[in-house]
């Protein structure tokens, strides 16, 4: 009986998720142009090729910026704003709604929005800088090799911090009030209350938020593709975009699959390591 209820889910997952996962490994030892029905085995040559693809490896380095930005800045921003919203009496619902709004946009909308805001001449960011007499700080943000990566990472942060914020806010509302009352009786100040009541109580939420934001940041694709398509040069190249280009622009699906295996494998290991660490702490 139970099996009948499970059958549709198992069937769909097997065909569209599990088979491709295994297929990715197989494909990484094959050669395929994306069209033909033949995909001959080529041994390790895809991996050898990827090993020498400097763009792929620098994309791995670039994506760490996104990872660190999401993990450190994003987490801090989410938690800080959640604490702030949790503390006010009026306007809670408004602030919550406003802060998560960017989270419901698509990457394409984000891309259009920020190529307009960051445009070199008519963009509002440069206009504002000029308006307050800081025209020395004006940049062609998305096309200057020095600013492109930080600019895209900042957009990514703006796009995603609301997610952690929502989870932290829900977590804060679950912290028992008695704990704060007890801390008050002990004469604890604001920082002590945060350090000894809020922080320990939020640890499980922090663990899940940091895992999800970290994995999300490392998988960034659309935001980058729409804003810079990896440029200028390859200064904002990220692994998923590199995999996409290797397959669909260069027609080398085999080496794209090898990159998938390397990068995807690293992500899976990271997720398992994180889960293991946060479980052990409990």
């Amino acid at each position: 009986m139970a099996y009948a209820f499970l059958l549709p889910a198992v069937l769909l997952l097997a065909v569209f998720t599990l088979v491709p996962f295994v297929q990715a490994v197989v494909l990484s030892f094959q050669q395929w142009d994306g069209v033909s029905t033949a995909s001959p085995f080529v041994g390790l040559s895809n991996y050898k090729f990827v090993l020498h693809d400097t763009v792929f490896w620098s994309s791995m380095r670039n994506v760490l910026i996104f990872g660190v930005a999401g993990f450190v800045l994003g987490n801090a921003l989410s938690l800080g704003m959640a604490i702030a919203v949790n503390r006010v009496r009026r306007g809670k619902a408004f602030f919550r709604t406003a802060f998560y709004l960017p989270g419901v946009f698509s990457v394409v909308v984000i891309g259009m929005m920020f190529s307009w805001l960051l445009a070199p001449n008519a963009g509002i960011v440069n206009r504002l800088l000029g308006g307050v007499g800081l025209s020395g700080l004006q940049h062609n943000w998305l096309e200057d090799p020095g600013t492109a990566l930080p600019a895209v990472a900042a957009v990514f942060l703006w796009y995603h911090w609301g997610f952690g914020f929502i989870l932290y806010l829900a977590g804060l509302q679950d912290v028992p009030v008695e704990l704060y009352e007890a801390a008050d009786l002990d004469g604890a100040g604001g920082w002590a209350k945060f350090r000894y009541v809020t922080w320990p109580d939020l640890l499980p939420v922090t663990a899940i938020v940091s895992l999800l934001t970290l994995l999300g940041a490392l998988q960034v694709f659309g935001t980058v593709q729409v804003l810079t398509n990896g440029g200028p040069g390859d200064h904002t190249m990220v692994p998923t975009l590199r995999i996409y280009q290797e397959a669909f622009t260069n027609q080398r699906f085999g080496s794209a699959a090898a990159m998938s295996v390397i990068f995807g494998g690293a992500l899976v290991l990271l997720a398992m390591l994180h889960l293991w660490l946060s479980r052990r702490r409990k």
């Binding site: 009986m1 994306g34 602030f95 998560y100 709004l101 394409v108 929005m113 307009w116 996409y244 998938s260």
Partner: protein, 273 residues
Amino acid sequence: MKGLASRGGLYGLLVLAAVGALFPMVWLLIGSLQTSSELYRGKDLLPAKPQWSNYVTAWTDGDLGTYLPNSMIYTVSAVVGILVVSSLAGYALARIEFRGKAAVTFALLAVMIIPAPASFIAQYKLMVMLGLTNSRLGYVLILISAGIPISALIMRGFFANLPKDLEEAAAIDGSSALNTFARVILPLARPGLIAVAVIQGLAVWNEYLLALVLFDDDTLMPVQRGLMNFVSAETPVQNILLAATAISVLPVVVFYVFAQRQVVQGISSGAVK
């Protein structure tokens, strides 16, 4: 006195962050109503005269009359599919004893860890082999399968919290298992169904990577993919692009404003599992 000042500071901070969150959208709307020359001159804050005709041009030139209905079709069919399949699975996992239950639950969690970058190339190859590229059915099936693991786990949580003796009572009344599920259990799990529908609805509407990979036929593209087509075509005019973007995001913003409570609930129930 000190409390008052710090409260003021707190509100100042929050208002600042709200402006930061809302301004880019507002600025996009302002840009979408300007003339091209206003836009490139970049001196004015507001359009001298709102150019509503930009929206008409965007709608026709951007083929939004094709892409938006496509997105509606994909979103509705994928969400219905996800609800059916994942509530069946979640029900079995929460309320039926069977061999291999722990293994199935673990497998769902494991599948969730598989990241998109690891499998989208092979998924594309699979779809080519199955003849399911440039296919509405193919796109919907792959979207459903992507939504199943998390949704099944959310539904399992909601089913597990229902009273224990519901099935026995229904069985005494001669109701079949499937009938009991559909008539008795499912209506009680409505909050779960809504949470899943809202979150997956947003995810499907905004999906980009698979749409990019699977479609090159214009008439089948969802709006995210179609919009990118429009952006990279010929020499796009900025104000028209902004208007097209605004049109594409309007359904989502309206939906979010009305369903924000459910969205927030959905995010929380999805992440805690």
